[in-house]
């Protein structure tokens, strides 16, 4: 099969789809032209992410990666969430085909964007956001040389 059972499960039964009214942070990355847009909403209480939702326009692994990423950070602190890498997303999915690695990068970036939005709105700084540039093009279909 193209994808692992785990990918198919998250694709067919995505967790945390939707949006959060009055979210504390919203991040959107990707580009319609390239066929993938990911938007993540977070609700924060104290330094904890108490709710997270996503909407994704993209392929099966983009949807599965969004789903897994939201699951991984639900209930975590902001700092913990910022430590999430696309490699963790891939591991959690039981692997992705090389040409689909960029879809997991998108999930990592969408989350960072949401936290950045929250940080900016509340004038907060987080170590994990140092050097983060929201306008950077995160979208690279050629990210394939990641070791699993």
């Amino acid at each position: 099969m193209l994808y692992t059972e785990k990918v198919m499960d998250h694709f067919m039964n995505p967790r945390n789809v939707g949006e959060i009214e009055n979210a504390d942070g919203v991040g959107e990355v990707g580009n319609v032209k390239c066929g993938d847009i990911m938007r993540i909403y977070i609700k924060v209480e104290g330094d904890q992410i108490v709710d997270v939702k996503f909407k994704t326009f993209g392929c099966g692994s983009a949807i599965a990666a969004s789903s897994v990423a939201t699951e991984l950070i639900m209930g975590k602190t902001i700092d913990e969430a910022l430590a999430l890498t696309n490699k963790q997303v891939i591991d959690e999915l039981g692997g992705l085909p090389p040409v689909k690695v960029h879809c997991s990068v998108l999930a990592e970036q969408a989350l960072k964007a949401a936290i950045y939005d929250y940080a900016t709105k509340n004038a907060l700084t987080f170590k994990g956001l140092e050097g983060y540039d929201p306008d950077e093009d995160h979208h690279d279909h050629d990210v394939v040389d990641i070791e699993f």
Binding site: L2, M12, V32, K33, T56, G58, H141
Partner: protein
């Protein structure tokens, strides 16, 4: 779970009768057609009978039809063979932007060898303009290669008129008829075709066998040299079971052409109309009438084709898409871009291709499933969001 195959344009199952015809040639009449003993002569005789049968379906003489290892080889042979053999005449080739990669990537290779290639635009329905074609011909033009039926959007070109223009200017005309053969009646003489590629596995025959029609008197170089097979033009021990199967499939298709077309067109229209009726924000691609009898190609806005295919697959339905995510490249299908679709819409394309084993229930089930799936995916889509909130 019920399995519904709606990807006949990708490949077809081999018909039972075709397999049965092939079987003896694996284990009993297994000779090499070049051998002079009985085993070889039996193989030789069925080889020539098969060639004759196929030639007849396109109104050609047997000595103009050459077997190849498939449609791609035929495409490569036609273009490289003719261009390289006619360097003295000129170095210019005309094709279209919506050809199969078997043609387009061959053109790129020819450009590297120093040939010049004009890639004609097509209109929103995938049609080549005859005026633009004629205007592109120069005194260097050796060959025009325009596909008969496009494999993605199903658009059928005015082949006869293209051949007429080619001949008026003393230019050769090749057509990639891999999708057309077995689905529309082809007469190479009447249609002014000089070279034509066909393939077995698109017409309920075996994979790994195809053919190139080459009108008599055409200068063409070989691309596979070696033994004297195929009258010295294509080396390699003849794939007799494949050839016999291809011929059987070709004859069956030819004899049943009208009924096949009627059935396909009926189901195709039912499927296409059914989908367009129940799913909003959808665009039917290709030409409304001049199209493959079994081809349905629709773009669904706000969602992505691969996700659509996976969801369909989970319901047992097999289709295909021109989305970038299925191709592993950044861009969606060159065909969808050539008919002017914006990237974001081309991403949501779905091709469902109908064939001889498709039933009315398959069509109904597919429409229903698709409706659910598109709805579900759209509810996940940040793009649809905006439409719901802001209208469109």
């Amino acid at each position: 779970m019920k399995q519904i195959y709606l990807d006949y344009s990708a490949t077809t199952p081999v018909k039972r009768e075709v397999v049965d015809t092939m079987l003896p040639y694996f284990t009993e009449i297994y000779g090499n057609a070049s051998s002079i003993h009985g085993f070889g002569q039996e193989a030789k005789s069925v080889l020539e009978q098969s060639r004759k049968s196929i030639a007849e379906t396109i109104n050609a003489t047997p000595d103009t039809f050459y077997f190849t290892g498939g449609g791609s080889e035929a495409d490569n042979w036609a273009l490289k063979g003719v261009m390289r053999a006619n360097r003295k005449k000129g170095n210019h080739l005309i094709t279209s932007k919506i050809e199969h990669h078997g043609i387009l990537h061959t053109c790129t290779a020819l450009e590297k060898e120093g040939f010049e290639v004009t890639y004609l635009d097509v209109d929103a329905e995938g049609m080549v303009s005859l005026e633009a074609l004629e205007a592109a011909i120069t005194d260097q033009t050796v060959l025009i290669s325009i596909m008969f039926i496009n494999n993605e959007i199903g658009t059928m070109q005015p082949v006869k008129a293209i051949g007429e223009i080619a001949h008026k200017h003393g230019v050769l005309f090749h057509t990639d008829a891999v999708q057309a053969y077995g689905n529309v009646k082809i007469d190479v003489n009447e249609m002014n075709i000089d070279l034509m590629s066909v393939s077995g596995h698109k017409i309920y025959g075996p994979k790994g066998i195809g053919g190139l029609y080459i009108k008599k008197g055409i200068r063409i170089q070989n691309i596979i040299e070696g033994g004297a097979q195929e009258r010295n033009r294509r080396a390699g021990t003849e794939n007799i079971p494949g050839i016999v199967g291809f011929a059987k499939a070709a004859v069956m298709a030819d004899e049943n052409l009208e009924a096949h077309r009627e059935k396909l067109i009926y189901l195709r229209d039912k499927l296409a109309n059914g989908i367009m009726d129940v799913i909003p924000y959808a665009k039917y691609n290709g030409h409304p009438t001049e199209r493959h009898p079994g081809n349905v190609n629709i773009c669904f806005e706000f969602i992505e084709g691969e996700a659509l295919l996976l969801s369909l697959n989970a319901k047992g339905i097999a289709g295909s898409s021109g989305s970038a995510c299925t191709s592993g490249s950044l861009d969606p299908s060159h065909v969808l871009l050539a008919i002017g679709l914006p990237h974001e819409i081309a991403h949501g394309s779905l091709r469902l291709s109908i064939g001889d084993f498709t039933t009315e229930e398959d069509v109904e089930y597919t429409i229903e499933s698709l409706k659910e799936i598109v709805q579900k995916l759209r509810l996940m889509s940040p793009l649809y969001d905006k439409v719901l909130k802001e209208g469109k």
